[in-house]
């Protein structure tokens, strides 16, 4: 019923460690990417890549985590999996929005427009934002008895829709137009690649830190509520 006190304390420390690591790594990644990494022929705007790509990649990672947690929830019906589903999707959605914003700023700097329907990845991320935004619409209008189950099912359905959407949007554009962010087409300078990797690691750590912090937060809320009930009932 109650977790041992020792476990709880290290839960807080665990989150703090990850948060500190995330802060350090993000700082290193931003300084490295924006000041140290070699300049690309495309100019300064290309440095946005060090934020944009890791966020884009990690958002999909977050949705994968949510899908796995959803499957685990349906198998074991434990609330903690439902929590991971919700928090992962929330963080993933945040990362997707940031991806779109940074992608849009890049487009403005590189192509001159804030939005390009010809860019399959940007468009697909918009669709993904809508799919996962709908998660919260569904969740908030479902009553408690069904919320966990439906959230889990949707986390699986949505994740299945992700690669399908990428493929469909790409196929819809029968353009030979080079995708602005298609770095595998370009010759990757090893300096750029290194800092890209650093940024990716930083964002992964950031995701884990945010996840742990939020889960810890929710647990604390629950504990406080339980404590309150205990104290009030005692009279």
């Amino acid at each position: 019923m109650t977790e041992p006190a020792v476990g709880r304390r290290s839960g807080g420390r665990d989150a703090a460690v990850w948060a500190a690591a995330a802060a350090v790594l993000m700082f290193v990644a931003i300084i490295g990417g924006f000041f140290i990494a070699p300049e690309d022929r495309e100019g300064e705007i290309q440095r946005l890549l060090y934020l944009h790509v890791p966020l884009a990649v990690m958002s999909l990672g977050a949705f994968l985590v949510a899908c796995v947690a959803g499957i685990l929830y349906l198998r074991r019906r434990e609330d903690r999996y439902d929590e991971v589903v919700t928090v992962s999707i929330a963080i993933g959605l945040l990362f997707v929005v940031l991806t779109i914003i940074s992608g849009s700023i890049w487009a403005r700097g590189f192509w001159g427009t804030w939005w390009r329907w010809e860019d399959p990845r940007l468009v697909t991320y918009l669709i993904i934002a809508l799919i996962y935004g709908a998660f919260f619409v569904l969740r908030s209008s479902t009553d408690e008895s069904r919320r966990g189950r439906f959230s889990a099912v949707y986390s699986i359905v949505a994740f299945a829709a992700v690669p399908v959407s990428f493929y469909a949007v790409r196929a819809a554009r029968d353009t030979v137009h080079p995708v602005a962010l298609d770095s595998d087409g370009l010759q990757i300078d090893s300096g750029i690649f290194f800092w890209l990797l650093v940024s990716q690691v930083a964002v992964i750590v950031l995701f884990v830190a945010l996840l742990k912090l939020e889960l810890l937060q929710r647990r604390t809320d629950r504990d406080l509520r339980r404590l309150r009930v205990l104290l009030e009932d005692g009279a």
Partner: protein, 230 residues
């Protein structure tokens, strides 16, 4: 388990029940058709005033209205309150959830096909310059493949949406983003036939639609039970 009819018979019975319900309320089918037509007209005003030849928009002009009609139709299939009690009855009966899923999906496919029988010829009349009526068969095939995917995914989503508070709003918000690939592929297939006569592209899109139906058929098969786990 002796005495319980075979899965195939259950399936047929359920599908017939759903279709009979639809036919009895013929007005809704007519309403759906009218909806698609008016949507086509409105869309045309969005594009048509400056263009005289809308052939290259034919795919979208067919599938945007169909997508919205699908959202309305799929959501509707659970609405009647009488239906709710019927649903409870079904869940208690020894019907496998999967058969229930299939029967509903089939009913939706039938429903959409009925709408498409009217919409596709209308597309040719309104929006295609010099339509070649032999194309209709190909368009219908693409419609069928798309409908299967819509039916399966729609049943799964509607089964959740029916238990939510703001049902009419939740359904489109949740279902439409998931449908985007279907709209892309179905409109693309239609365009390949009507606008471009590129059968290779048509085949590609149809393959995609079939893959979509299979993928979400599997997902629905795996998760449908959990939706009704009361």
């Amino acid at each position: 388990m002796s005495g319980a009819p075979s899965a195939a018979r259950q399936y047929r019975a359920l599908v017939l029940k759903d279709l009979r319900l639809e036919l009895r309320t013929r007005e809704t089918l007519i309403a759906m058709v009218l909806f698609v037509v008016i949507a086509m007209v409105i869309l045309q005003f969005g594009f048509g005033t400056r263009e005289t030849d809308l052939t290259r928009f034919a795919g979208g002009l067919l599938w945007v209205p169909l997508a919205f009609a699908a959202v309305l139709g799929v959501g509707r299939s659970y609405v009647a309150e009488r239906e709710q009690r019927v649903l409870d009855g079904l869940l208690v009966a020894p019907v496998s959830r999967f058969v229930l899923l299939l029967s509903r999906a089939t009913a939706i496919v039938g429903y959409l096909l009925a709408v498409e029988i009217v919409a596709v010829p209308l597309l040719g009349v309104f929006f295609v310059k010099g339509p070649y009526w032999g194309d209709v068969g190909w368009i219908f095939l693409a419609c069928l493949l798309a409908d299967i995917g819509i039916g399966v995914l729609g049943t799964l989503v509607a089964s959740m949406a029916v238990f939510t508070r703001a049902r009419e709003l939740v359904m489109p918000v949740v279902f439409l983003p998931l449908l985007v690939p279907v709209v892309i592929a179905a409109a693309g297939a239609t365009h390949a036939v009507v606008g471009q006569n590129d059968m290779a592209q048509y085949r590609g899109y149809c393959l995609f639609l079939a893959g979509f139906a299979v993928l979400f058929g599997l997902v629905a098969y795996a998760t449908f039970d959990a939706v009704f786990d009361d």
